[in-house]
């Protein structure tokens, strides 16, 4: 009898149970740093819609974009993050973030299917702005490693959420629904762009 699945399941459960105490601590320290980093993208609606749009567009484009875009984004985000950490100013960060929602939403809304390398460049360009916004907060974090892990994981989970939403293209009216999501994301981006100027 093959006991490997049982061992693996028990291992996963054991690991999950053993680390519950690590998350009981909130506020300062390692868990507080992770929680702060994790919540940072989630508290910014402009971050949220853009991250979801990356996953959505990737799902819309299909393989291999469905994983290339969510992999490209965090890797390039580190460049912007590193600039933010080092205090290198990047002009128009908030405008760039708002534009990311507009452009990526429009890509989905109009079902734009560029070559993979062009899609990756578009995503990477906007990733720098998002990374810079996160990176400027990193030096103030209670635990920088935990903080960076937190916001990278949150960013990735938002991508996965976008991918999950994008998978509805397989439904009967799924493509229309996904394009409608793209329209909503673009409109949100316009709001974020206009709102600070109003």
């Amino acid at each position: 009898m093959d006991h490997r699945p049982v061992v693996r399941i028990l291992s996963a459960v054991g690991m999950g149970l053993a680390v519950t105490s690590a998350w009981a601590h909130t506020g300062a320290g390692i868990t507080g740093g992770f929680a702060s980093g994790f919540m940072h993208p989630l508290f910014g609606a402009d971050h949220v819609v853009a991250m979801v749009a990356v996953g959505l567009w990737g799902a819309f484009l299909g393989t291999p974009a469905i994983w290339v875009l969510p992999v490209t984004f965090p890797l390039v985000m580190t460049i912007g993050g590193a600039l933010g950490v080092m205090g290198v100013p990047l002009p128009g960060v908030e405008i760039g973030i708002a534009l990311s929602a507009i452009v990526l939403g429009a890509m989905v809304a109009f079902a734009v299917r560029p070559p993979l390398w062009i899609a990756a460049i578009i995503v990477a360009t906007f990733a720098i702005f998002h990374g810079h916004a996160h990176g400027t907060e990193l030096p103030n974090a209670a635990d920088p490693i935990a903080y960076s892990l937190g916001f990278v994981v949150a960013t990735g989970l938002l991508h996965l959420a976008g991918i999950a939403i994008g998978l509805v293209v397989r439904w009967r009216h799924g493509k229309t629904l996904v394009q409608a999501c793209g329209v909503a994301i673009s409109m949100a981006g316009v709001f974020f762009l206009v709102h600070p100027l109003a």
Binding site: S11, G14, M77, M86, A142, I145, G156
Partner: protein
């Protein structure tokens, strides 16, 4: 080797479940178990473990000797922590994790020696970085032993979990996780290079030390 891993995992689960099943007040994990979960609570160690698991898990059958290298390296690192001078390994571990994460993203077969070297690097970093605070009695030794055993057990668990992810979309997920490891590691390295590390948690100068965890204090906070 598989039987040994299973027995170790079973023992770890039996030991690790004490805290989760407690009712009423919990006084703390105790010295050994504090050390046992230390690799999970020390961010640089956790990142190193995850990176190695993501690297070795998908090719476990062909590179499982790297696990042995990891075990030996952790033990050697533990010996250094016990008898050698203090040495901060956070930065080195993050740099190693960044490279390992990239290797996971690329997902190309690499020479076996790469896996062995990576395992030794991470294992040594974790072992050396598990140096306990000096205190009288046997507590530092117990703490260190728990940390080293914990590192081995958690790594075995993680790599087997990754190894169990056989479906194509799971392989993609592994690459995505690898990108997360690289991204977070590079950001921290940028922080170190820029010299803007928070004064509350220096990542370069002072080597991290292991202390027994008092859960009752954590829950009060």
């Amino acid at each position: 080797m598989k039987r040994a891993v299973r027995l170790t995992v079973a023992a770890a689960l039996a030991l690790a479940s004490v805290d989760a099943s407690a009712h009423g007040s919990v006084k703390g994990l105790g010295t050994f178990f504090s050390g046992f979960i230390h690799p999970l609570l020390e961010p640089s160690h956790l990142v190193g473990l995850i990176a190695m698991a993501l690297l070795i898990g998908p090719r476990w059958e062909s590179v499982r000797r790297a696990e042995l290298c990891f075990i030996v390296a952790v033990l050697l690192g533990g010996v250094w922590a016990a008898f050698g001078p203090p040495l901060a390994t956070d930065t080195a571990l993050m740099a190693g994790a960044a490279l390992i994460g990239l290797a996971v993203v690329v997902a190309r077969p690499l020479p076996v020696v790469f896996y062995a070297v990576a395992a030794c690097f991470v294992g040594l970093g974790i072992g050396i970085g598990s140096r306990p605070d000096p205190s009288p009695g046997a507590a530092p030794w117990i703490l260190l032993a728990g940390s080293c055993l914990g590192a081995v057990v958690w790594f075995a668990n993680m790599s087997q979990l990754v190894h169990a992810m056989r479906k194509p979309w799971m392989h993609i997920l592994v690459r995505v996780f690898g990108s997360w490891v690289t991204a977070s590691s590079i950001l921290v390295l940028a922080l170190v290079v820029s010299g803007n590390a928070s004064s509350r948690r220096p990542t370069t100068d002072r080597p991290p030390t292991v202390n027994p965890v008092d859960l009752s204090d954590l829950r009060r906070n």
